[in-house]
Every structure is written in C-alpha cells, then in structure tokens.
C-alpha cells in the first residue's frame, strides 16, 4: 500500500519531491548498547497523538508532547495537520500507531528489559531541520531516564 509504485502519480510525486528536498545528514551515527533484553525502551511517535486536554499540535509544530505510560486509551487523540493518511486504524485500536500495550507484553516475555514511564509525540509534518533543537532536548531527558532504545514510529 505504501509502496511508491502503488501510489497515484500525484501522490508518488509528492513523496519524491520530499526526498529531493531532504538536507544532507552526513554520516550515519550508530549508538551501540547492551543486549536487547537489558534495554530500557521508549516510543517516540510522529503521529501527532497527544493526551486529551494537552495543547493540540498547530500547523508546522516542531515541539513535542509527553505521553505518560499510564494514559488511558480513551485520553489519546490526534491533531496531525495532514489529511493524507488513514486515521480509522488509530480510531479502532491505539496500538496500530502507538504500540505501548504490545511493548509491555514483550517486556513481560523478557524480550526487552524495561519500558519507560514516559513516551513522546511530534507532529511529523514539521520541516525536518526544525525538529533538531527539540530532539536534542529530548535526548537529554531520555538519557536521564536511562532509555537506551527509542522506537521511532511515523504515520
């Protein structure tokens, strides 16, 4: 479904234009770490999901919202600016976008060491360079929380 070759021409061109406009990130950093079964994991989603009552994401927002791990599903809503992706999956089941329940199940099986009490959301329509400052801020918080495995999930 998300194969470029399967998309209509105007949609394919939109995504190709985004590739053309990407900045050069240079060499790929690769942070090593302990075995997976010892890692502490947090989720960062760029789906624009946030807790009901928190500030919705305005257009172009490059900041993040905190999703405490004990947030009930009923309190998670989405304020992404794009209308070009499916939301019916998220409406039916939060885990199709924000798989915290699945992560906890894998923790219970011993696949990962622990799950952070805090997770985070950006709104993925922001210009990529605009995300850098908040990403650096967030990295410091994650390290303070001893998170050594971050799952990045888009929509």
């Amino acid at each position: 479904m998300a194969r470029l070759s399967d998309l209509p021409e105007f949609e394919r061109q939109h995504h190709l234009d985004k590739i053309r406009d990407l900045p050069d990130f240079g060499a790929t950093p690769f942070v090593p770490g302990p075995p997976l079964r010892e890692r502490r994991v947090a989720i960062i989603t760029t789906s624009g999901v946030h807790v009901r009552g928190d500030r919705p994401f305005p257009p172009g927002a490059a900041d993040y919202r905190v999703i405490p791990g004990d947030t009930p599903h009923a309190d998670l809503i989405m304020s992404h600016s794009s209308v070009n992706f499916d939301r019916s999956g998220f409406q039916e089941d939060v885990n199709v976008v924000f798989p915290l329940d699945r992560l906890r199940e894998l923790q219970a099986e011993g696949v990962v060491g622990s799950v952070s009490d805090y997770h985070y959301a950006f709104m993925g329509a922001a210009p990529v360079r605009a995300l850098e400052a908040k990403a650096r801020e967030l990295a410091a918080l994650l390290k303070k929380d001893k998170v050594d495995a971050v799952l990045l999930t888009p929509v």
Binding site: R3, P32, S82, P154
Partner: protein
C-alpha cells in the same frame, strides 16, 4: 522520522524506526529502520491484530541487536486486513434523502450528523473511547463551527487562542472523526478505503469542507490560505475536484 533518528543518535541515544516510504528512508540513511508495506497511518499493520503487531514490533526491536549500520530491513508480511482495507466497495450508509432535502447544505449536514448519532454512540461504547475532541468537548461544537462557514455571507467565528485557519481545521477534523467512527460501527464497514470513499463522495460533510475550501480561496485571512492546498482535503480529492473544474 529519519531526521529524528539522526538527531537522537548524534546525542548518544540509540534508535530504531518504522519506515513507511522506503525510498525516503533509504535517502536519509538512519541507523536502524524496518520498512513495512502497510498503508500510511498504520505503522503496525492492522487494528485488533495483536499477534501481528507483536511480530512487527519484535522485528523492529531486533534491529538493536545489529552491530553496525545503517540498517534498512524489509518486513516480509502484508497487513492481515490489507486486501479488505484497500478495497473500495460501497459503504451502505446512504444519505440520498439528506442531499435532496430542503434547507441546503447546512441542513443536509445537520441531518447527517443526527442520522449518524446512534452509530457514533455505539462506536464510542464499543471502543470505550472517541478521537473527537481536538476542537471542542463534543462534535456539536465542531459542527456548529463548520455550519458558520456555510452561511451566505459567513462571519468568521472567533475562537480564543486560535487563528481562524487552525479553528476550522480542527473543527473539520472532529467532524470527520465523528463520521468515520460512526461508519465503522455499522455492520461490515471497517474497511478503511470504503469509509474514506464514502465520506468524500457521498456526504454533505465533505461538500461542506469543499465549500470551506472555496471560502478560504477568496478570504483575505492569511491563516485560511494553507487550507486551500493542505490540511483540509486530501490530495487525491483536491486533484479530482480541480481536474473536474478544469475540464
């Protein structure tokens, strides 16, 4: 998504990401990525498919066992409901009466919202939640905001703390969420593409959104300009509408 991976890894935080557009991820070269062949908006495949979601998550987590990168692997399975989610069969909800009734588009929208109410209530009860609530506490707040734009000479409704553009975008998102959640509660109507096609082809709500887009084109309010091309109507619908207009 790939950019975030670079920024976090530069700061010493290990990341692994889902890729929905493989070509973009290949260009960005993040440290660890798992491409999945799922529809945009569904990075873990399908709703209510816990086993499948766990398989995707296990594959993503396994990338942390790699000793070097960048790594871009392909998830080998399609989503369990890929065929039905992508199928465009007609949604049985019919609004023919509302379309032809007296009172114009505004009344048609009110009628649809009322017709869908029991299905929305059922969806909310069954799921234990609703995603309506980005604009106001209930869908009525959002509907009233949209209705204000359908007057013959609209006076832009003012919402404290929001530009006109942000307010109407959020109101439309809430109205759309209400329709989608209601339609999904009806028997046999969980297919994503069918609901999407029904909404954009057959509802007064979609016609109201298109009317708002036309208003935005003519308005001098700069906050409404982005809604002409983005944020309100999907690219596929804009392409169709504008092509028909040129034809």
């Amino acid at each position: 998504m790939g950019a975030l991976g670079h920024y976090l890894e530069r700061e010493g935080v290990a990341t692994a990401q889902i890729s929905l557009i493989r070509e973009q991820t290949a260009a960005i070269k993040p440290s660890r990525a798992l491409w999945v062949p799922f529809m945009l908006g569904r990075p873990f495949g399908s709703p209510n498919e816990a086993d499948f979601q766990r398989r995707v998550l296990r594959s993503l987590l396994a990338l942390f066992e790699k000793k070097s990168g960048p790594v871009l692997e392909d998830f080998p399975e399609d989503a369990p409901d890929a065929a039905s989610a992508d199928s465009g069969f007609a949604c049985p909800v019919s609004f023919a009466a509302a379309k032809t009734g007296a009172g114009g588009l505004a009344q048609a929208l009110r009628d649809e919202v009322a017709q869908l109410a029991p299905w929305y209530d059922l969806a909310r009860k069954r799921r234990g939640r609703t995603t309506v609530g980005v604009f106001g506490a209930t869908v009525d707040d959002a509907v009233n905001h949209v209705l204000a734009y359908l007057d013959d000479a609209p006076v832009l409704p003012v919402v404290a703390g929001m530009s006109a553009g942000v307010a109407v975008k959020r109101a439309c998102d809430d109205v759309k969420a209400y329709y989608f959640e209601a339609a999904a509660a009806q028997p046999g109507n969980l297919a994503a593409k069918a609901i999407d096609q029904w909404f954009w082809n057959d509802t007064a709500a979609a016609r109201a959104f298109l009317a708002i887009r036309e208003f935005c084109k003519q308005s001098s309010d700069e906050s409404l300009k982005p809604l002409v091309k983005l944020s309100l109507i999907p690219r596929a619908v804009i392409d169709r509408v504008d092509s028909a207009g040129r034809g």
